[in-house]
């Protein structure tokens, strides 16, 4: 259930941009989501289908691009990728440092939408 409010926000954004571009249908929505997010891809699509049912957005596919979590060691500046879901202590592979800055993996945005413009637009709601 945790995905629902976030998906509602994505849906609202899709409607806003589709209307601004006079789109009659949305084919796909590309998202960039950092690996540190707890959202599950499968549930995101299910909730999106649930919210968009009966609207002109219905049928749109979510293309979820996961951005790997990359951290930089504060001690030796080494950058390295972390598998956050492995459930292991994070440690610098070069100097065994334990304090880091985030390089990537916290992204949370709608990148783009593939839409159909023109045709029958009377049914937009």
């Amino acid at each position: 259930m945790h995905e629902l409010p976030v998906i509602k926000s994505i849906f609202d954004m899709c409607v806003k941009h589709a209307k601004a571009n006079n789109a009659s249908k949305i084919i796909s929505v590309t998202l960039k989501v950092g690996e540190i997010s707890d959202l599950q891809d499968e549930w995101m699509q299910r909730y999106f289908d649930y919210i968009s049912k009966g609207t002109f957005v219905e049928g749109a596919k979510l293309v979820i691009e996961r951005v790997p979590l990359v951290m930089r060691c504060k001690k030796c500046s080494e950058s390295f990728q972390v598998d956050i879901h492995a459930g292991r202590q994070i440690e610098c592979p070069r100097c065994k440092g334990t304090e880091f800055a985030y390089v990537s993996g916290r992204e949370y945005r709608v990148e783009s939408m593939e839409v159909v413009c023109g045709g029958d637009t009377a049914d937009r709601s």
């Binding site: 409010p5 926000s9 954004m13 540190i36 994070i90 949370y108 709608v110």
Partner: protein
């Protein structure tokens, strides 16, 4: 004729919430009201810590509490019994508070007459981490029975908090909780986080937590545009 087009969006998924949260923070800054967002799993001791904090600070600061509960009013009744202003937000199944809900709760509290507002967020380590409430500081509680591996399971929550309160330390002997391993895991995710060890039951460690909070509130009010001499009126 129909055509397929690619629209560049490049917009943050929760950007509307973030914008409202920033607006709320500006408002709090103008009023000189410090707002704390307290998050944790269910049953980690949020209400107990709030009650201890109220007991320690109620003579010095005017305090209000925003309680979020999915259905019950048990927590808000406990807080209200201390003579503290409390607003209960029934989230009707929602698993977190967002800036809109907090803004409504805040208005009901008349925050211009308060020095400190504590939000007791919904017991959940997932969604509250995603939704900025507009609070000045984010605090989470991890209680000893939950285990030292929580940072490995819910990393995002540990990255958004300024403070971690490790509660129920009186139960340390009963559980297999490795404090040093936990600290190392937390610091790897968030090297700036402050960690306090408390027992809301015995009162152990509450002093350090309360001292930190007092300093934060005073520092905030000093930087606030609002005249800081409001404390003299707090007895009214």
């Amino acid at each position: 004729m129909e055509e397929i087009r690619l629209i560049e969006v490049k917009e943050g998924i929760l950007s509307d919430n973030k914008a409202l949260a920033n607006e709320l923070r500006h408002k709090l800054q103008r009023m000189g009201t410090f707002m704390l967002n307290l998050m944790s799993s269910p049953g980690s001791g949020k209400t107990s810590l709030i009650l201890k904090t109220i007991d320690a600070l109620k003579d010095e600061f005017r305090i209000g509490v925003i309680e979020a509960d999915i259905a019950s009013t048990v927590d808000s009744e406990k807080v209200a019994s201390r003579g503290i202003k409390v607003v209960q937000l029934r989230t009707s199944g929602f698993c977190h508070l967002d800036a809109t809900m907090v803004s409504e709760g805040l208005d009901a509290l008349e925050p211009q007459a308060l020095d400190l507002v504590i939000i007791e967020n919904v017991g959940n380590l997932v969604c509250p981490a995603e939704f900025d409430t507009g609070a000045i500081r984010n605090v989470m509680i991890l209680s000893i029975p939950e285990g030292d591996d929580k940072p490995l399971k819910y990393p995002l929550m540990f990255t958004v908090c300024d403070v971690l309160v490790v509660n129920k330390i009186d139960a340390m002997g009963v559980f297999d909780f490795d404090i040093n391993a936990m600290k190392k895991r937390v610091r790897a995710l968030n090297s700036n986080i402050r960690i306090f060890m408390t027992s809301a039951k015995t009162g152990e460690g509450i002093d350090s937590w309360v001292n930190w909070l007092t300093k934060e509130i005073k520092g905030f009010r000093k930087n606030s545009k609002y005249h800081p001499n409001r404390l003299s009126n707090s007895e009214i």
